[in-house]
C-alpha cells in the first residue's frame, strides 16, 4: 500500500510538470482525439508534446512490458495512473485499435519478432491500426466470413471485402480475419493476418452514418499480397484469437461515456438546462425521476463492473460474463443519450452552428445507437449469456 502511495506521488508530480495545460481541457470535438499513425497531423504542438512525453515513459501502453514500449505496470499501479490523470483531467495521449485490440492479441499469440516489430510502434503512436472482421454477409454470424487468403510459398494472396472497418481510410495497417481453408468447418478455416493498407490492391470507401459522420468504411482486397511472416498464431487457428479479442473488447466496456457526457451527470445538466424549483430541484418532476432511475442503473452497473474487475484481479476468470457487461453497458448508454436529448430539448435538435458545436447533441445521440450493434449485438450477447452463463439448452 505504502509503495502504491509513493507511486501516486511520483505520478502526480510528473503529470503536474509534464502535462501541457491544453491537454487538461475537456475533449470538445473529434479533432481532440489523437489517433496517431504515419499520416497523422497534430492539431497542436501540445498534442505532439504530450504524446512524445507519455510514450517516452511507456505510459501510452502502461501495462505492456518495457521491451515492447510499455511501462510494465501492475494493474494496481496502472489504476493509480488512470486516477491521477483523471484528477487533473489529462487527456488520453493517443489511442487506436492497436492499443486496445491488436496489442493484447500480439502479447498473447504473437511471435517474438512480431511483438518487437509492432508493439513499440503502436506505443509511440506511429502506426494506426484498424480491424477487419465483419463482411457484408458475415455480421452477427462472423464465422461465415468469405474473404479468401490463398497460401503461397512466401505470401498469402487476399481477395474479398470487409465492412464496418473503423477508419480504414485513415489507418496504416489492418489486422483481419481471412478464410485460409475453404473446406474446413466454418470456424476451423480462419486465420489472423496483418496487412499494410498501402499494399497494392487495397481500396476503401467510407460509409456515411445517420450521425453524418463516417467512422466506418468498406474495404476491398484485389489480389493483395501479404508476407507469410504477417500470419499471427497458427494457420487456420485465427478464430481462437478472434474470440479472445471479442471477449477482451467486451471487458473494456463499462468506462465513462465519451464526448458530451464525459464527466458530466445528467442531473446537473438538467438543473442548468431546465432550472430549479423552490427546493432547488430540477423543475420537471417526471424528467427528474427518469434521470434518477437511469443514474441508479448506472451506479448498479458501475458496482458490477468493479466487482467483475476485482474478481478478475483475484484470478477468477471473467469469460462469458463480459457479454453481460457489453449488453447492459451499451443499452444503458443509449438510454443515457435518449435522456440527454430530452434534457436539452430544442437545442439538441440543431444540426449545425457554433452553439452546439455542429449539432453535437444530435450527432452523439444518433451515434450511440450503434453501441448495441458493434462488437456483437445485444441479441448475440444475450445468446452468449443464455448459453454459457445460464447453460440453457441450444435452440
Amino acid at each position: 500500500m505504502a509503495e502504491l502511495e509513493a507511486w501516486r506521488m511520483d505520478v502526480r508530480d510528473w503529470l503536474a510538470a509534464n502535462c501541457p495545460d491544453a491537454m487538461r481541457e475537456p475533449v470538445r470535438s473529434a479533432d481532440d482525439h489523437v489517433w496517431g499513425g504515419r499520416r497523422w497531423v497534430f492539431a497542436s504542438e501540445a498534442q505532439r508534446l504530450w504524446l512524445e512525453r507519455m510514450a517516452a515513459k511507456g505510459w501510452t501502453a502502461p501495462e505492456w512490458p518495457v521491451e515492447y514500449g510499455g511501462a510494465g505496470l501492475s494493474p494496481e499501479a496502472h489504476a493509480v495512473l488512470r486516477e491521477e490523470m483523471a484528477r487533473i483531467g489529462a487527456r488520453t495521449p493517443v489511442s487506436n485499435f492497436g492499443f486496445w485490440m491488436l496489442g493484447p492479441a500480439l502479447l498473447k499469440f504473437g511471435s517474438e519478432a512480431q511483438k518487437r516489430r509492432h508493439l513499440p510502434a503502436i506505443a509511440r503512436g506511429e502506426i494506426r491500426w484498424c480491424q477487419g472482421y465483419s463482411e457484408p454477409g458475415a455480421g452477427s454470424d462472423l464465422a461465415s466470413l468469405q474473404t479468401r487468403a490463398e497460401a503461397h510459398d512466401d505470401d498469402f494472396v487476399v481477395n474479398g471485402r470487409k465492412i464496418w472497418t473503423s477508419y480504414a481510410d485513415r489507418a496504416d495497417c489492418m489486422f483481419c480475419l481471412v478464410r485460409t481453408d475453404p473446406d474446413a468447418r466454418k470456424q476451423a478455416g480462419i486465420s489472423f493476418l496483418l496487412l499494410d493498407m498501402e499494399s497494392e490492391g487495397v481500396s476503401t470507401r467510407p460509409i456515411q452514418l445517420i450521425s453524418g459522420e463516417s467512422p466506418f468504411c468498406e474495404t476491398f482486397f484485389d489480389d493483395v499480397s501479404v508476407p507469410r511472416e504477417n500470419l499471427v498464431g497458427e494457420l487456420n487457428q485465427g478464430w481462437t484469437i478472434a474470440k479472445y479479442l471479442l471477449t477482451h473488447e467486451r471487458e473494456n466496456i463499462g468506462g465513462e461515456p465519451p464526448g458530451l457526457l464525459k464527466g458530466r451527470d445528467l442531473g446537473t445538466m438538467a438543473l442548468a438546462a431546465i432550472g430549479a424549483d423552490a427546493e432547488g430541484r430540477i423543475d420537471a418532476p417526471s424528467l427528474r425521476h427518469d434521470i434518477a432511475g437511469l443514474e441508479i442503473d448506472a451506479m448498479a452497473f458501475r458496482a458490477l463492473v468493479d466487482d467483475v474487475r476485482a474478481r478478475a484481479e483475484a484470478g477468477q476468470g471473467v469469460g462469458a460474463r463480459s457479454a453481460m457487461l457489453k449488453y447492459y453497458g451499451t443499452e444503458l448508454n443509449k438510454r443515457r443519450y435518449d435522456l440527454m436529448m430530452d434534457v436539452m430539448g430544442a437545442e439538441a435538435l440543431e444540426w449545425e452552428g457554433e452553439r452546439t458545436h455542429g449539432g453535437q447533441y444530435a450527432r452523439e445521440w444518433l451515434r450511440s445507437k450503434g453501441n448495441s450493434i458493434e462488437g456483437g449485438t445485444s441479441e448475440i450477447m444475450l445468446d452468449i449469456v443464455a448459453a454459457h452463463v445460464l447453460e440453457l439448452p441450444r435452440g
Partner: protein
C-alpha cells in the same frame, strides 16, 4: 465486493442455518394458523444461538458487532428461504436505533436481549399509506415529572404484537425523533393483522402513552432507516436470486413442443436479461452496505439507490418467474407466489421504488 475471510465464513454459516432451519412452507403454516405465534420461533432461537440476531449489537452488549455487510449477508440468505422472523425489525432497525441513541441505560436494558433473541423490538415510523418518515402527525409531549407521553397512530408496524419494545417516531416540537415504548404501556393499542406475505403487522394507537426519548434525536431515526433500507435491499436480492434459480430449473425441466422451454430464444433472452439485473442489484446492495460500514459520504445516495434497484429487480424477477412457470406459477402449491408477495412487502417497506428514487435524486443534489 469481494468478501474477506470473516464475511465468507458468516455467509456460509447463514446459508447452512437457513437451508437447514428455514422453509418457505412455514409461510403457509403461519398463514393457515398451524403456527400461531406469528413468526418462526424455532428459527429465531437458532439465529439467536448462532449470534445472528446480535449481528449489529456491540460486543459489550453481547453482540457480534459485525457491521452492515454482515447483516446483509444474513438478510440475503433469509430472503432465499423466506425466513419468517423479526430479523429486520429487531436485529437491524431497533438495534441500530438503540446503538445510535447515546443512552447507556436503554442500551444496557435492551441490546443484550436483542442480541440473544430473548427480546424482540421493532420500529414504528409510518403513519399513512406511504413512507414519509419526517412528516409526522404523532406528537410527543413533555410532562415535567411525569415524563414524556405520545399521542397518535402508526401503521405498518411489523412484528408489533410480538415485540417487547416499540421504537416510535414522534414530533417533539423541534422535529422527528424516536421514543421507547414498552409492550403493555398505558394507552397503547395494537391492532394486529397479517400482510399479503403472511407476516405479522399492526396499526397502533397511542393515547397519552408514556415513552422514553432516545438521545441523539433525528440522527438515531435516520441511522435506523438507512440500515434498514440497505439490509432490505440485500433481502430483496436474495429473493430475486432464489426465484431466478427456481425459474431457471423450470426452464430446463419443463418440456413443450418436444423440447425444453429453456431452448426457446424468447425465454432465453428474458432470462439472460434478468441474470444481469440481479447481478447488478446484488453488486449495488453490497456496495451500499459497505459504504455505510465505512461511513462514506456517498452512502446517502448509495442506500436509496440500492433499495430502489433491488425492489425493482425483485419485482421484475418475481413477475417473470410466475410467467415462465405458466399456470403452475399461479398455484398456491408452487412457492413462486410466496416470493412475489414477500418481494412486494419488502419492496414497499421503508420507502418503495419511487420514494427511494426520489431520495437518491435529493442526495445527488437534483
Amino acid at each position: 465486493m469481494l468478501l474477506n475471510d470473516d464475511q465468507r465464513m458468516l455467509a456460509d454459516l447463514a446459508a447452512r442455518l437457513f437451508t437447514d432451519k428455514a422453509d418457505p412452507d412455514t409461510v403457509r403454516a403461519i398463514r393457515d394458523g398451524r403456527i400461531d405465534s406469528g413468526y418462526d420461533q424455532t428459527l429465531w432461537q437458532a439465529m439467536g444461538e448462532a449470534g445472528l440476531t446480535g449481528i449489529l449489537v456491540p460486543e459489550a452488549h453481547g453482540g457480534m458487532d459485525f457491521g452492515l455487510v454482515g447483516a446483509g449477508l444474513v438478510a440475503r440468505e433469509a430472503g432465499r428461504r423466506l425466513a419468517m422472523t423479526p430479523y429486520v425489525s429487531s436485529a437491524v432497525l431497533a438495534a441500530t436505533a438503540l446503538g445510535a441513541a447515546d443512552d447507556d441505560d436503554l442500551r444496557a436494558r435492551w441490546l443484550p436481549g436483542i442480541a440473544d433473541a430473548s427480546a424482540i423490538a421493532t420500529l414504528a415510523c409510518d403513519e399513512g399509506r406511504h413512507h414519509r418518515p419526517h412528516d409526522l402527525a404523532t406528537r410527543a409531549e413533555a410532562g415535567g415529572d411525569d415524563g414524556w407521553h405520545l399521542q397518535g397512530e402508526k401503521t405498518l408496524v411489523n412484528d408489533a404484537a410480538q415485540a417487547d419494545l416499540l421504537l416510535v417516531s414522534a414530533h417533539d416540537g423541534d422535529g422527528p425523533r424516536l421514543f421507547a415504548v414498552e409492550a403493555g404501556a398505558a394507552g397503547l393499542t395494537i391492532e394486529s393483522t397479517q400482510l399479503l406475505d403472511s407476516r405479522s403487522c399492526a396499526r397502533i394507537t397511542l393515547e397519552h402513552t408514556p415513552a422514553q426519548p432516545l438521545g441523539a434525536g433525528r440522527p438515531a431515526l435516520d441511522a435506523s432507516l438507512r440500515a434498514g433500507r440497505a439490509v432490505l435491499a440485500a433481502e430483496l436480492v436474495g429473493i430475486a436470486r432464489e426465484v431466478f434459480a427456481r425459474t431457471l430449473g423450470y426452464l430446463h425441466e419443463r418440456r413443450q413442443f418436444g423440447r425444453a422451454i429453456g431452448s426457446f430464444q424468447a425465454l432465453q433472452h428474458r432470462a439472460a436479461h434478468l441474470s444481469v439485473e440481479i447481478e447488478m442489484a446484488e453488486a449495488l446492495a453490497f456496495r451500499a452496505l459497505e459504504a455505510c460500514d465505512r461511513d462514506e459520504p456517498g452512502a446517502d445516495a448509495l442506500v436509496p439507490a440500492a433499495k430502489a434497484k433491488a425492489a425493482a429487480v425483485a419485482r421484475l424477477t418475481a413477475a417473470e418467474g410466475v410467467q415462465m412457470h405458466g399456470g403452475m406459477g399461479m398455484t398456491d402449491e408452487f412457492d413462486i407466489g410466496l416470493f412475489m408477495k414477500r418481494a412486494r412487502a419488502a419492496g414497499h417497506a421503508l420507502g418503495d421504488y419511487r420514494y427511494c428514487t426520489d431520495a437518491f435524486a435529493r442526495a445527488r443534489g437534483y
